[in-house]
């Protein structure tokens, strides 16, 4: 079942090379990614939200001597991110301009990246995860380096270096886990059992290695410096893929390989981890306020929002974990709509500069629908009630306040700062007067608005019906939190009780 989400895009990536017409290539990619969305819908309908642990397991012994098995499965966290990946992949394909250069290579790489991400989220073998983790790196390097902005080569190389280091660190950590078990078995249950037998110092060392690896990918401050360049230089659809899904690989790793494998050490380190997340929230928000480029502003907002995920994961209470997982999905969708709209503005107006943009809400010559959706996206990102961003952040704060009240309040301050930079962005971009000299922007076609309309509908629907956002994660969060509390020393566990 889950293999379809990997095999489908792979086959699609190969099939696009058989087609010549750019429109047919795009159509093929759209059909493939659309089928993946439909398939995820089927998987979600079959997913038992009451059952803890992995579901839809698929196992195939691949290289037993190396401990590499093709083992897939999905719990609440994985199924949420698989759904997010399928949706964002479709949006990325749809929002790519028809006239994109070298379409076969482009759509092939997008589908490869989608397959790699799906594999990583579904993998139940550590080595298989690393394999998929590295698999998505290559297409993304080319997607940034070929179709990016003026500094695309620099940004792509920086992305490659950082992510390669991240991959190496994760590989070292994972291999160490296998070696320490004494036998080559990298399946998750086996690795989990191995970790439980390790000494405290060794666990801390391994966790720190993995934290660094996934911290780069997320990214967490101060490991984030690749992100602004990559997000800004990447074309808007690729930026949607990077921010919407790829960054979630980092947060997914934090939960799967940090909290789940090292619950007791995680509990010991949770104050520091929560402080790390809070620092990211404040740094991201304050840096975003200082930006003059709206795409860079959105990029820095992403750093801040990843801080909330880190905060919720660090706290480890069921409620905070549900919030953190919801925030991964919520952030993916909100960031995708923001990057899509910023891309549309850049394409129509020809600039992303805050000091130049003005009055786009003008109903006759501006981009009124785009501006309205940008307001909606900004409100969702700032955690305004009635939108999915609020649901996720509220759950995190509810879950973390009793454990880390001060840090939680600082994170709440971060949401206020988020509102500040979005008000700046919206005020300068959407409101005010259009310039008489320059306001001859082409109209935005309905087809160009469709991705944003789809994402906006989800933001509103999941904002007023949050059950559809959190029901997938509740049992998984409960299990992770219980695991953590049961494994952690009593003195630490008490402090984590909600």
């Amino acid at each position: 079942m889950l293999s379809v989400l990997i095999a489908g895009p792979v086959l699609g990536a190969l099939a696009v090379w058989l087609v010549r017409d750019p429109r047919q290539i795009r159509l093929l990619a759209l059909v493939v990614s659309g089928l993946m969305v439909a398939w995820v819908g089927i998987l979600l309908s079959r997913f038992d939200v009451t059952q803890p642990g992995m579901q839809m397991l698929e196992t195939w012994t691949w290289l037993p001597n190396l401990g590499l098995n093709y083992r897939l499965g999905a719990d609440g966290l994985a199924i949420s991110l698989l759904a997010l990946n399928a949706l964002i992949s479709w949006v990325v394909v749809y929002s790519t301009p028809v006239e994109v250069e070298r379409p076969r290579l482009y759509y092939s790489l997008v589908l490869w990246a989608s397959a790699g991400l799906a594999g990583a989220f579904a993998a139940q073998n550590v080595l298989l995860f690393v394999l998929f983790y590295e698999l998505e790196l290559v297409p993304l390097y080319f997607l940034i380096g070929i179709w990016g902005g003026p500094k695309r080569e620099y940004a792509a190389l920086k992305f490659l270096l950082y992510t390669a280091i991240s991959g190496v660190l994760i590989l070292i950590g994972c291999l160490a886990l296998g070696w320490l078990s004494g036998r080559p078995d990298f399946d998750y249950p086996q690795v989990q059992a191995t970790v439980a037998r390790l000494g405290f110092g060794l666990q801390v060392t391994l966790l720190l290695v993995l934290l660094l690896g996934f911290g780069i990918k997320t990214p967490l401050v101060p490991l984030h410096t690749w992100l602004p360049d990559a997000y800004v230089e990447a074309s808007p659809p690729v930026a949607m893929l990077l921010g919407g899904t790829v960054a979630k690989l980092g947060t997914y790793g934090l939960v799967r390989f940090g909290l789940e494998l090292f619950p007791s050490v995680w509990a010991q380190l949770s104050p520091a981890l929560a402080a790390w997340g809070t620092a990211g929230v404040l740094f991201g928000a304050l840096t975003a306020i200082a930006q003059k480029d709206i795409k860079r502003m959105v990029a820095y907002s992403s750093i801040g929002h990843m801080g909330y995920v880190m905060m919720g994961t660090a706290v480890g209470t069921p409620l905070a974990l549900v919030g953190a997982m919801a925030q991964m999905v919520s952030h993916g969708i909100i960031l995708a709509i923001l990057f899509h709209l910023v891309g549309l503005i850049e394409r129509k107006v020809g600039t992303r500069e805050l000091d130049v943009l003005n009055g786009l809400m003008n109903p006759l010559r501006g981009l009124p629908t785009v501006s309205s959706l940008l307001v909606l996206g900004g409100m969702a990102s700032a955690g305004i009630p009635g939108m999915m961003g609020f649901v996720a952040e509220f759950l995190i704060f509810q879950g973390s306040y009793q454990v880390f009240p001060l840090l939680t309040l600082l994170c709440v301050l971060g949401t206020g700062l988020t509102a500040v930079y979005f008000v700046i962005l919206l005020n300068r971009t959407c409101f005010g007067r259009l310039d008489n000299r320059t306001a001859y922007y082409p109209r935005v076609l309905l087809a160009e608005k469709v991705p944003a309309l789809v994402l906006a509908s989800l933001i509103l629907f999941l904002g007023v019906q949050p059950r559809w956002l959190v029901q997938w994660n509740e049992t998984t969060a409960q299990q992770l939190a219980v695991t953590q509390l049961a494994s952690a020393p009593l003195t630490q566990s008490v402090s984590l009780l909600p």
Partner: protein, 436 residues
Amino acid sequence: MTTTLQPKTKLPPSRHEFAEVVHRLEAGGAMVPDTPENLMQIVGIWKAYAVPMDFYWRDLLYIAEQVFLNPLPFFKYFISEEYLQRHNHYAGDDADLRIWRGEATVHPELKAFLERGETFKMPRLLHHLWHDRINMEFAEECMRAMLWHRGMGGQFDPYLDSEEYKQNADRAIRAYFRGNPLMLGLYRLFPDLFLEQCRQASYYANLGLFWEVMAPVFFEIYDRYLEGSIKTVKDAVDFLVNGIFAVAGRPIYHHVYIRGECYEIIPKSKGFMWLYEAALPYVEAVFYRTSPFRGTKSYNAQAHMIPDKQEDFHYGVLYADKFPIATAGIPPTLLAQDMLHFLPDFLVDYYRRHCRGEDDMLVQLGISFQRSMYTVTSAVFQALRAALLYPLDDPNPRHLWANRRFFEAQLDRFCRPEYGIRDAARLAYVQSPDYR
């Protein structure tokens, strides 16, 4: 393609910031470049403007003469059939001076629109509530601009403060409220309030009488353009200048009809003339000054965002922002909406081919309107020059210098750095055909 006008002047080239415009004016042209495209826009929009204007002047006179001081004037836009059929003094067979060769009664396109609107035939009240009608609010805003910017020259405005006017108004007010002790009591308590309302009604009459002339002028220019006798912007300016002189002496007055009796608040015998008491104040108030539009942008007078002196106001159509947000002194959207119903087909086709086609036609026609008003202002310059200064082909260089100084002084109003007037004026914009 630009039709080059050979300057007949013997003077050296002007060193003014708008030297090209100065030379064009010295050759009898307009501030707008003389191109077929500009002419097509200008003449087409004049026709689209003249049709609602045919309603404006009738209703303005209806309000001034019949509604007068009605404290609850809910139906002041529900013009009576008598006023719709009222003969324009400058059109039709019985005209005082026939400017337009068409009918003197309501324009056929206007008549059809008043019956059906842009929706379908239904009671007039429903058309009104649905805003499917001619927007008299625009006309009233122009009237208020003239009333508010008092003291712009002429004799009409000082007369409104004279004892004679007050006595005439007093008679009319008492007659109007005869048998109404409440209003008469209020009048006794607040006489200035009623007097000010009376002055406003006088400006209703003033503007109505002004536009009664302009509507047939624009219709005639349009007809001549279609016939091919107006081929350049200069031809249109010449027609306007000739028209201005032909009707310059038309009396400006204010009569009120109360129970069938006429009360002459401003009698024709005062000798107030159309050119000096209506046309020039109108151009000054509406084209140049008006007031900050009550739009979405707020102005902070304490931050000197609004000039200290009223004569420095620059919110008129010559400075108007083409986008319907703030800055323009008149509600441009309402006028644009009115003109949209009566655009000639060639102009609709033209707008469809540019920018966003039908989606932003209101903006495009607003810019055409701005071009056309720069042309009207040019005609006023030429008329004033002809009345006060010298012919353009005068052999005396000193006279030519005087003409040049006059034109340059007029253009200086668009170049003043204080209050950002230089940036606000659209004179530089309308020089380019790409300004749409």
